[in-house]
Assembly symmetry: C2
Homo-oligomer: 506 residues x 2
């Protein structure tokens, strides 16, 4: 029987129980996100005898608007992720939101019921994309590309239900990086894991662990445990639920629903407790049953090489070979991996969040061939960042820290203490805009000075330029720092240069 | 009768004929864009007796993939547009790709047949968004927001046909900026025009002109010409086709299809020849018929104020008051505008492109109220950049200039001249990545040096680090400039610093 590797058994047990615990915190706060919307819904019920719209104003189930606050967080995180992808030489790609339905079906098997289909309005049958991987494979095949390193950021749609209470949305963003092409073994695979580490470290989400396995080891394990080959994918799908269900429940599903013999399930149950590092690979090479299986041996050989490369990349201690990892998607053929946050750092008064998987991927060597008329293979390996979960964690953390997020980048506000200075303000602000300075003013003919200064304080604008009668006479503009409330008079012709100097210093 | 203003009549006539000419160049090259795809389609027809897919591999009609080359161009243009929106204090917003169908219908009237509906899979009736304006209005009403300055970039979908031959796609990107709220007249409207000028100047697309009109002047004109009020919107829709059809054809549509009396159409025909600047506004104030119409007078008054602000912004000479401008969308209530490129600068051997409208917008004061149960108004004014046309112009220009676009940003390539140096390369490249340097290597155990250097030349990577036996012995790495082919030996521990120095200098 294989033994636990790398870490003492108790540590692993604690980790495991943490990882398998249902993400309660996530559920509650995802609903919290919608409280504003819910409130809008409650208060916007039309009253009788009104001529106005007789519908309840709302957005589709499982979707949401992203507020300016959320957009700021997203932009920062996406910038960081995309710059990591570019650091690794990836090219950008975009594909349509929908594909011909026949391009998507059979790719997801058990999941294809979750696809959004478009109405037949005369013409082609279309469905919204379910992920970014299948469109990428379709793109490679259609353009006869034999290799490509690409990233793609975009929305995908899945009709999962009930959605919001689980913290899952039906429309969500994916960030994918993939390497397609015939290469020497495990070099691109190792780079994918390196990228996952760089992204997760860079975002400072706290400690994480990447579980690694190989579909060939999973299948080999099923074979030596006595699973009939026809049940491989179904049993694999059950195993994939181990991050949401206990082994007891998964075992029950395998036996009662999928018709697996109890003793076969128990043999699987023994294997899937194994996790560790290189030493576990060596152990399994010696495993009397597994070592008889050709597929499993191939998988173990590749994993051994992979760990060598991961050590050279300096990330081996972040990676854990875990026999319980299955990955639900059907198209994987080799190495598979999934990153989990061990715990987000609990700050003062903060509940530790358990968000489960935040990045995942694997090797899919056969998918492109399914699109190619001649069945030409283009081996691929890739990863998808669970960007929605990451957004959620960072948003929660900011909420808990009571930090105010600026939703605009305005640097200078143009104000006046006097009436009838609209024209001077308009001339001045155009000058600032033309110099590339981010500037705002109030759209009022005669705003009060206090209103204008409050606007700056509320929105975090650091500088105010003030023009009035006195200043106009003297040919100067007052430049005020909102934080210090200090004001200096600047010659009108030097204003832009002075503002640029101040902004470059801050 | 109103006379032409600002420019001599002949200049305007030349301009007008240019603007009304059908965009032939655009048609041809939009098809050209798809040649790769078309080729893939032709060559990927499945042959009989093959076990492989029996479908033709393709993407939905009217959609396209964006290649890495196209993505690079888009990213640069979008960055420029969004940074302009941010310079004006706009906040980001995102809304779902689809809305409840009932939220969208009646907003586009004649166009609602162009909406993509989702299949009824049990649950809500949904449609893909047709623009970003209606979702913005829905967002304001749902969240009871009384003011907001927001931008949004995203895809919208319209089932127009035949699509590609017209250079139009059924899936395309929109970039919108809008100002919602009760403000003093024409200040936000003037800012929208300023933004259009900044974007179009900033992108260096060549000379442009922004045509301005007001829906109240259009309606006033219809009224004094004798158009029955019930036909206002239908006649307005016909008038909107003046940038694709001649007045003769538009007049025919008005009379034959929409049942307008010929003499009424001829009266409209006289007015819509008028374009000019402030002097035209003054003339129309004196127009015996139009000056009797309250709505028209309100519109003229606002336009006069608008031109005053545009002069202060220094952009009045880019703006032309044009009575033929109608704007097709139904929700506009006040000022409307549309920017046209007069001609892209024809470079050596380049056909001048006529692409028509590249930005447009207007005031829509009633749209939010249609979503609000109590009918509360939130006046809005905004603009949409015709980003697809701009992408197309810039892509064509780059194609004609034979400039090679780099699709990756890789700064350093890690090479070796010897066999069995994979491990050293892996260690070295991880060091570069960890220092934030964009680096690539070939995924081969033993690549040839020439192959590696060719890769750098083909992809535009400026620097190569070379590690071999000799270098390892001496504790150095060779740093090679791809352009000059000069090589220097750098101490291994100084490598990252030296690379960073070189990159900061270039």
């Amino acid at each position: 029987m294989p033994q636990l590797g790398l870490l003492p058994r108790r540590t692993w047990a604690t980790l495991l129980s943490q990882l398998l615990r249902p993400p309660r915190a996530a559920c509650i706060s995802a609903v919290g996100c919608h409280s504003q919307v819910a409130e809008a819904l409650l208060t916007s019920q039309p009253k009788p005898h009104q001529e106005k719209p007789n519908f309840i104003i709302k957005i589709p189930k499982g979707t949401r608007d992203l507020s300016p606050q959320q957009m700021v967080v997203r932009e920062k995180i996406l910038d960081m992720v995309v710059s990591c992808f570019k650091r690794h030489g990836a090219k950008g790609l975009d594909t349509p939101a929908f594909e011909l339905t026949e391009m998507l079906t059979e790719k997801y098997e058990e999941h294809s019921g979750l696809m959004y289909d478009l109405k037949d309005q005369g013409g082609e049958l279309l469905s919204l994309r379910y992920d970014l991987t299948v469109p990428f494979a379709r793109y490679l095949a259609m353009n006869k590309l034999k290799k490509m390193k690409r990233y793609q950021v975009g929305k995908v749609w899945r009709r999962e239900s009930p959605t919001i209470v689980q913290g899952r949305y039906r429309e969500f963003c994916q960030c994918d990086f993939d390497i397609a092409g015939h290469f020497d073994p495990m070099i691109p695979d190792a780079e994918c894991l390196k990228i996952m580490c760089e992204v997760l470290s860079g975002l400072q989400l706290g400690d994480f662990l990447i579980k690694v396995n190989d579909r060939r080891i999973v299948d080999g394990m099923f074979a030596v445990c006595g699973v009939p080959e026809s049940k491989f994918r179904a049993i694999c799908a059950s195993m994939d639920k181990l991050d949401k269900m206990s082994w007891r429940d998964v075992r029950h599903e395998m036996v009662a629903k999928k018709g697996l013999a109890p003793e076969v399930a128990d043999r699987i149950g023994e294997y899937i407790q194994c996790h560790g590092g290189v030493s576990l690979i060596e152990q399994l090479f010696q495993d009397p049953r597994l070592s008889q299986n050709k597929q499993a041996l191939e998988g173990l050989g590749d994993l051994k090489l992979l760990f060598e490369y991961l050590t050279l990349f300096g990330i081996a201690e972040k990676i854990c070979f875990d026999l319980s990892l299955a990955r639900g998607v059907d198209y994987y053929t080799g190495v598979i991996y999934e990153a989990v946050l061990l715990q987000t750092p609990a700050q003062a008064g903060e509940e530790p969040l358990n968000v489960g998987s935040v990045a995942a991927g694997g090797r899919y060597d056969e998918l492109v061939a399914t699109f190619d008329p001649k069945g030409h293979k283009v081996p691929c390996v890739g990863l998808s960042i669970g960007i929605e979960r990451i957004f959620y964690i960072v948003e929660q953390r900011m909420k808990n820290s009571f930090k105010k997020v600026r939703t605009t980048e305005t640097q200078v506000f143009v104000a006046t203490p006097q009436k009838n200075f609209l024209r001077e303000r308009l001339k001045l602000i155009a000058e600032l805009w033309d110099a590339g300075i981010k500037a705002e003013m109030l759209y009022k003919n005669n705003p009060k000075l206090l209103t204008q200064l409050h606007y700056c304080e509320n929105t975090g604008i650091p500088l105010v330029v003030i023009i009035g009668e006195q200043e106009q006479k003297e040919g100067v503009i007052k430049l005020r720092s909102v934080a210090s409330r200090e004001e200096v008079a600047i010659k009108r012709e030097n204003l832009v240069a002075e503002i640029q100097k101040r902004l470059s210093e801050s």
